[in-house]
């Protein structure tokens, strides 16, 4: 016979299991790392059990969101006159060697193909870690005259990096899905304009559509893209105060055009090397930021424009009149949104939890009371509000919600970011800010090579890294004070944050 205590244990254990299959067992703000792990699994975003380390299986919900992301990004790039290409996944080792900094930067991370069938290749072929060295040899064949410029390209591709750091699903995997743009310009000034355009594209898509707040930093000399003259990268803030590097745009200037012979004849008949820029929004990584920035203790919260299902109708009783009304609503709403009726055998509570975990923006609950009163109950995932709406107003209400929902998530995210930047004038204070989950703003001696040793000391003292100078402060905000490390006059105002 079981004792009362033992029985209680059993009940507790069963409850734990039910909890486990139903929702998240930790709060985002209390244990972010565990929260993320659970969301990836419970919202069925990726399966990590694939038997090659650091590779993951992207499940339907994440693929469908990422396809929408691709669509927004590609549309925007095409409007800005980038043309799409598909380049080979394999790049000969000799290509990678044609720009010396590039090969040094990427060699430790390259997967090598060395055999085909039973034949050993004479030269190793890289699985592209990025495609500069594939594109630019073709550019040298395609570009002849200044009339061909600007030459603006992009490709949607999967790329491979043999990461030595710990991998995290979507954030850092050994294969990821991205877009890379590569452009050739006639002058340095045109190349600089392209960098601005890339930042603008990031704003138009990542911020205005996906609702992600970010800051563009110019990276210090020791943290540039291998082969780049200047690197500008968007840092998105995680709720635990860490930043995630999102799209970066690089002024490659002429190093690669010299390595690959990308030349053009000017209007004056003289031959010049092209000025090259590239830009890389990593869609699978941006997806991670959408999950992280908007998600809450119940799961994902997807912006309307990214949600694979935008409205879910949940009949809470099995009744023909309720089903008829569900069908009616389905047809009306289908004209401007992706709708689904949840006809599974689960309980209403389970259905609610399921769709909240998935982040579907709108849920319509239908019961007998709704039939009688010609109303529907609408739950919105962005604010968590539940409202009873008269039947004839449903369409208008949801249309309005579709428009404002993305903006509400965006404003919530923006606000979090603003509150977390704090000035510091010494490393002790900086450490406190970092440990409380903030971003430090401070004076710094130099972001050129000679600042590297101060940067190392920042990392030692705070566990965080110098992200660089804020792009929109360059040449605009006067830098005063001294370097937070060495005390010499500060040439720059920089930001310090922990990174993922």
């Amino acid at each position: 016979m079981k004792t009362e205590k033992a029985a209680k244990e059993v009940v507790k254990e069963i409850k734990g299991k039910i909890e486990d299959t139903k929702g998240l067992t930790v709060k985002k703000n209390e244990d972010f790392s565990e929260w993320y792990t659970q969301v990836v699994q419970k919202a069925e975003l990726a399966d990590l059990r694939y038997n090659v380390k650091g590779f993951l299986v992207f499940q339907p919900w994440s693929v469908m969101v990422m396809e929408k992301m691709y669509s927004y990004l590609e549309k925007t790039l095409q409007q800005k006159r980038h043309k799409p290409y598909f380049f080979p996944t394999l790049i000969p080792e000799s290509n990678l060697k044609r720009e010396s900094t590039h090969i040094i930067g990427f060699t430790p991370e390259v997967f090598w193909v060395t055999e085909g069938g039973d034949k050993k290749f004479e030269e190793r072929l890289a699985l592209r870690p990025t495609s500069e060295t594939a594109f630019y040899q073709m550019f040298s064949l395609w570009i002849r005259s200044y009339k061909d410029l600007p030459f603006k390209t992009y490709q949607r591709a999967n790329v491979f990096r043999y990461e030595t750091k710990a991998t995290r699903p979507f954030l850092r995997s050994r294969e990821f899905h991205w877009i890379e743009t590569h452009c050739v310009h006639a002058t340095e000034k045109d190349a600089e304009k392209q960098v601005l355009e890339d930042m603008q594209t990031t704003k138009e898509v990542l911020h205005d559509v996906f609702g992600l707040p970010f800051i563009f930093f110019e990276r210090p000399a020791w943290d540039k893209f291998p082969g780049a003259d200047r690197t500008f990268a968007a840092d998105v803030l995680n709720p635990d105060g860490r930043v995630v590097q999102q799209p970066s745009t690089h002024l490659l200037s002429q190093a690669f055009s010299k390595g690959f012979g990308v030349k053009y004849t000017g209007a004056d008949g003289k031959e010049n090397y092209g000025w090259i820029t590239c830009y890389g929004p990593a869609v699978s990584r941006i997806f991670a930021s959408v999950v992280i920035v908007h998600g809450d203790d119940k799961g994902l919260r997807l912006p309307w424009n990214l949600a694979p299902i935008q409205v879910v109708i949940v009949p809470i009783v099995d009744d023909p009149k309720v089903m008829e009304k569900a069908d009616n609503l389905y047809h009306k709403l289908s004209s401007f949104s992706n709708v689904e009726i949840d006809m599974t055998n689960k309980s209403a509570g389970e259905k609610f939890n399921h769709w909240e975990m998935k982040g579907v923006p709108v849920r319509i609950d239908l019961g007998l009371k709704d039939i009688k009163e010609k109303s529907v109950t609408i739950f919105r995932r962005d604010t968590g509000e539940k409202k009873v709406i008269r039947e004839e107003n449903v369409l208008g209400y949801i249309k309005k919600l579709a428009e404002e929902s993305g903006k509400i998530l965006m404003r919530q995210a923006d606000k979090v970011f603003d509150d977390l930047i704090i000035n510091a004038t010494d490393l002790k204070k900086a450490k406190q800010v970092i440990e409380s989950g903030g971003i430090v703003r401070c004076g710094f001696c130099s972001i050129e090579k000679d600042g590297a040793s101060c940067s190392d000391k920042v990392e030692e003292s705070t566990g965080a890294k110098v992200r660089g100078r804020k792009f929109d402060e360059i040449g605009k905000t006067k830098t005063s004070g001294v370097c937070i490390v060495c005390g010499k006059p500060a040439k720059e105002t920089v930001y310090i944050a922990r990174e993922y």
Copy 2:
């Protein structure tokens, strides 16, 4: 001083060069192989100068058409309840070995990744030649009960085959772009229904939208997909009488589910192995068929629904009134089509050739006469007709053309196919049919293993291959007569054709 003869040679040479940059120098029906090579280059579909053998750079025009193809295929698959996944590109060698026929079939064609950074791997990783062995190990984790079935998936992916045959752009490359579907069913009957559904999908998309005529054959035993129980493949006909294998759907039955432990518990509580099917439309290869089937001596002819630009407006004089009218038309037509105004500095003739080469369905020529007479001149690429239309009727005319244009190309293609199938009762006649560019229909002893030696003799005598039995004749058309090779009573009616 040049002689008259030498001067003539120079003129001829220059003319040759002009010709070369302007249009195709061979007729499709006279030298198909050279025609195809020229179209790929002159319509700027792919650049073959990339420095890894058998790999090509897909240029914007082909990428944009292929993106539309992906969109039609994915939409249709999703409507039929396939869910999208992204699986890793790399598959461990041990996975490939878990179904014995499969590894034997694919081993000669696999690219192997053996190193990452400076580390040599203990186990080789295949660049996926196809993904059965990646999907099915995950299916064994995901599928538990009959309630999970049918389990219908797909992925958009690039795949790799170290082809030993000569490569041809889009038709046979070492990296190509495709969709692969993988489904698990509870019973053999359900799996058979899926094969029918895959054929229906092929019809709805490849025939009804892309305008490609094909015949579904059940492949003989010696020509099945490695690991499949039965293989059904769509053969599209090239104008030179050769067939191109397009999507194939495979009844894998239980060989893979046994190899990977894909099991489910039935309603009766008993454990069963799943019945697996897979289907693979190779988008880059289908693109080749669209080029080949619809193209003519002036270049591509794209169906309206696949054309990246559907209407091009060519101002044939530089006049503000003409430009104003061009702008007007642009805005009106943009509401239902992709329009472009050709503002380049080329001559009208060069512009005409350019857009005909690209296969744009509709061209509007605008001159001063058109302003005066309130009319426009419309050239349609499908029929080659030129018509003067009154301004107020332009929209209606083009809308109608958009609807019927695809169908016109489709009917033209269908007709070519029908005319080319010819019955034969002996190998001499079969050879004649094949050499005149036809497809042979004849009696055959068996498409099981015991028919292989007769099949070899067919190939020796005619240079063509037994494609199999026509799917819609199976069990419907009575087979009579004798095998065209051995003279034994014919169990099957088969088709013989040369293949690409």
